[in-house]
């Protein structure tokens, strides 16, 4: 026998053996078990209502459904795919004080999401936002989900830090996150580990920079670790007591520059009153955060405090900190929905066909001034009214009073001590 023949023989042998395996992983005796099982059962069938002798119909092999998007699940649950998305349309009017902020409208988010499961144990999510006219990658990760309740996750995802940050924008009480959110790490490329128990959850990870950083820089990326632990002694449908702590440590990239800037809880303007400018010769950044939430029926309170410490080459650390507290109330009787597994808030479902109404109030403050860094301090009070017409369709109205201090001047580009008022509207649908 020639080597070619031997190779062909081995190849065919391998192929044939593979072909003998059932495609869905079931042992073949299941596929062939119909006759014998039906035969054994014939007496029983004769005594009760007739049972068809047909084999299981193929249309039972997948479940297809829609809640606006498309959901397809295999009958063994080991594969599923969901295609969905969201559209957030905003309008803002600025009652200006000293600086021009720019009234207008914008698409705040136009996102397509795909998530799914492969071969029982691999889950994934891929979401891209097109709101700015570019494709902005959001979540892009896959995870190993075989060791319940552990999960290993790899890709581009949010670092475990802050209740508000980890709550999807779709389910936030206010149109924008509070000022201290400027300090949180956000999404980066990383490898993470998640676990949850009856009342506890833990998440930790090691992260590089955002995947699209460093495009014109040959220096090394920064890297860091972050972790979040939560404890919810009460987590029922309408009653929640939640506590959490987050910590993160990051070595900055080779450029060794750090900057924090943030808009005044309104995305439509490009003005960023609070701006530290580039803080050069910065080595490491350490962040800590504390969070709590309380839900009792229609009423909820949520608060977070967070601070960061920037270590510089000359050993002069600078520290920034901020906090917020918010309260909301549903006069129509609904309750904020807490998801205890990821320890964050989820979708509000209206109780009636008229929808749910939520009234909310928030105070937030952020101080980016310390030593020679004059990033400014800002306080903001926001009143919000949300109308959840359907679980996936809501309208939001926010009215904010902004108070900036003498250093809140966009790193010298704006007049300081500006005190504008902001009216914002949002129409939101997700599917």
């Amino acid at each position: 026998m020639s080597k070619l023949n031997l190779f062909l023989l081995l190849f065919l042998l391998s192929f044939s053996l593979l072909a003998a395996q059932p495609v869905d992983g079931n042992p073949p005796n299941r596929q062939n078990g119909h006759e014998s099982q039906t035969g054994n059962h014939s007496l029983l069938l004769a005594q009760s209502e007739p049972l068809s002798n047909r084999s299981v119909e193929r249309d039972h092999d997948t479940f297809t459904s829609t809640r606006g998007g498309v959901e397809i699940v295999s009958s063994d649950g080991e594969f599923f795919a969901i295609i969905g998305g969201r559209l957030l349309l905003d309008a803002a009017y600025y009652d200006e004080d000293k600086n021009s902020l720019g009234n207008g409208t914008e698409i705040r988010s136009a996102r397509l999401d795909m998530e799914g499961r492969l071969f029982a144990d691999i889950i994934y999510e891929l979401s891209v936002d097109f709101a700015d006219g570019d494709a902005d990658m959001k979540d892009a990760w896959f995870a190993y989900d075989a060791q319940h309740p552990w999960r290993f996750i790899l890709g581009h995802f949010k670092e475990p830090f802050s209740l508000e940050e980890l709550t999807s924008r779709k389910h936030l009480t206010f149109m924008e996150r509070a000022l201290p959110n400027a300090l949180v790490p956000g999404r980066n490329m990383g490898l993470g580990l998640q676990w949850y128990g009856e009342q506890l959850s833990l998440a930790a990870g090691i992260f590089g920079d955002d995947f699209n950083d460093d495009s014109d820089d040959e220096g090394d990326e920064g890297w860091g670790v972050s972790t979040r632990a939560t404890y919810a002694p009460i987590a029922t449908e309408r009653s929640v007591v939640h506590f959490g702590v987050s910590a993160a440590h990051r070595k900055l990239d080779d450029e060794e520059a750090y900057r924090v800037d943030i808009r005044p809880e309104s995305h439509l303007t490009d003005v960023r009153y609070l701006d530290t400018g580039k803080i050069k010769q910065s080595r490491t950044l350490t962040m800590v955060g504390l969070e709590t939430a309380w839900v009792y029926g229609e009423t909820s309170i949520q608060a977070e405090w967070m601070a960061s410490n920037l270590e510089r080459d000359d050993d002069t650390d600078v520290e920034f900190s901020g906090w917020y507290v918010q309260a909301s109330w549903f006069p129509t009787g609904e309750s904020r929905h807490y998801k205890h597994q990821p320890a964050r808030f989820g979708r509000v479902k209206p109780l009636s066909e008229q929808g749910a109404v939520e009234l909310a109030l928030r105070y937030s403050t952020l101080d980016l001034t310390d030593q020679d860094v004059e990033g400014g301090n800002s306080d903001q009070i926001t009143v919000g009214v949300n109308w959840y017409y359907k679980p996936q369709l809501r309208f939001m109205l926010n009215y904010s009073l902004v108070k900036n201090d003498e250093f809140a001047d966009a790193d010298g580009d704006l007049e300081n001590e500006d005190e504008p008022k902001i009216v914002q509207l949002r129409a939101q649908v997700d599917f």
């Binding site: 023949n5 042998l13 042992p27 005796n29 699940v73 319940h148 029926g297 109780l351």
Partner: protein
């Protein structure tokens, strides 16, 4: 090349018999599901937990099979494509009647062994018992529900009341009948009653104390005017011809999970099950007799 062709032909002849000689190595757990993604998450940890303790019986994997209907699940049981099912008593009764499935254990789903149906209406509206529902409208959940359809419908029939399905909650039934509408979710039942659109509602005693199904501010305006007898909350059932050693081991594993700290997260994922326990033959008969209840209700409604 001739040798290769010969071998190829030989292999093609061998392959089917090879497939037939596979031994059983996979146990399949099934469930009726309208939300397969969610139910897979419920079942997967339990499937893995059980599989890990059956390797010496030649079972190295447990697969999940989700069925769109009780009829489909019965087919799968008869065909031997599903071995073990976790379901409600009404589904268990159907699967016993049609597919010969047998009760293994009771499941304390969501922490309770038994539950019943409560009939309720707005306080002070003059409905004090089931007979007061004549000529009135009651909201139920959907035709697949045990506690919010079959159990209350049977209770009405047992009390000599005639049932008639209405197209709209605002329609009125004949004076000698009880009209019913399906509202799809428990919270809709509560809302319809609270708004006075319907005269009464019925759902499980679990839902009565569940805030998202019945908010406290609704509950304080309601009064319960009738309760059905208790019934088993949920059951583990197996196909009648499952190998005895596998059936025995499955029973042992589930009972052992009650006190096994390693099973804590498994039970929690498994629809917040507190424990499994055995039930008496009389209790099993009571479950199987639910099939008669279903037939009686179906006959009374005439669909």
């Amino acid at each position: 090349m001739k040798i290769t062709l010969f071998c190829l032909l030989a292999l093609l002849m061998v392959v089917p018999s090879h497939a037939d000689t596979h031994t059983k190595d996979t146990l399949v757990i099934g469930k009726i599901s309208h939300n397969p993604k969610k139910h897979y998450r419920y079942l997967k940890p339990m499937a893995q937990y059980v599989a890990d303790q059956m390797t010496d019986l030649g079972i190295d994997k447990i697969k999940i099979r989700l069925a769109k209907s009780k009829e489909h699940l019965a087919d799968l049981l008869v065909q031997g494509e599903v071995d073990w099912v976790t379901e409600t008593p009404v589904a268990a009764a159907y699967l016993h009647d049609v597919a010969g499935a047998e009760i293994l254990l009771r499941k304390w789903k969501k922490g309770v062994a038994e539950y019943h149906t409560v009939f309720f209406g707005l306080s002070g509206k003059g409905i004090g018992n089931l007979q007061d529902l004549k000529g009135k409208v009651i909201a139920l959940e959907d035709p697949a529900s045990t506690s919010a359809f079959y159990a209350p419908a049977n209770e009405l029939v047992e009390h000599g009341l005639k049932l008639i399905r209405l197209n709209s909650a605002r329609d009125k039934p004949p004076a000698d009948s009880v009209g019913f509408v399906f509202s799809r979710e428990e919270i809709n039942i509560a809302t319809l009653v609270h708004k006075g659109v319907v005269d009464a509602g019925a759902f499980s005693s679990d839902d009565w104390i569940k805030e998202d199904h019945l908010p406290a501010k609704y509950r304080e305006d309601f009064e319960i005017f009738h309760r059905t007898p208790n019934m088993v909350r949920a059951l583990e059932i197996v196909r009648h011809d499952l190998q005895p050693e596998i059936r025995q081991r499955l029973t042992e594993i589930l009972l052992d999970s009650n006190d096994n700290p390693a099973a804590l997260h498994v039970l929690r994922a498994y629809q917040r099950t507190r424990k499994f326990d055995r039930i008496s033959e009389d209790q099993k008969k009571a479950v199987y007799n639910l099939r008669n209840m279903i037939k009686k209700v179906d006959q009374a409604i005439g669909w």
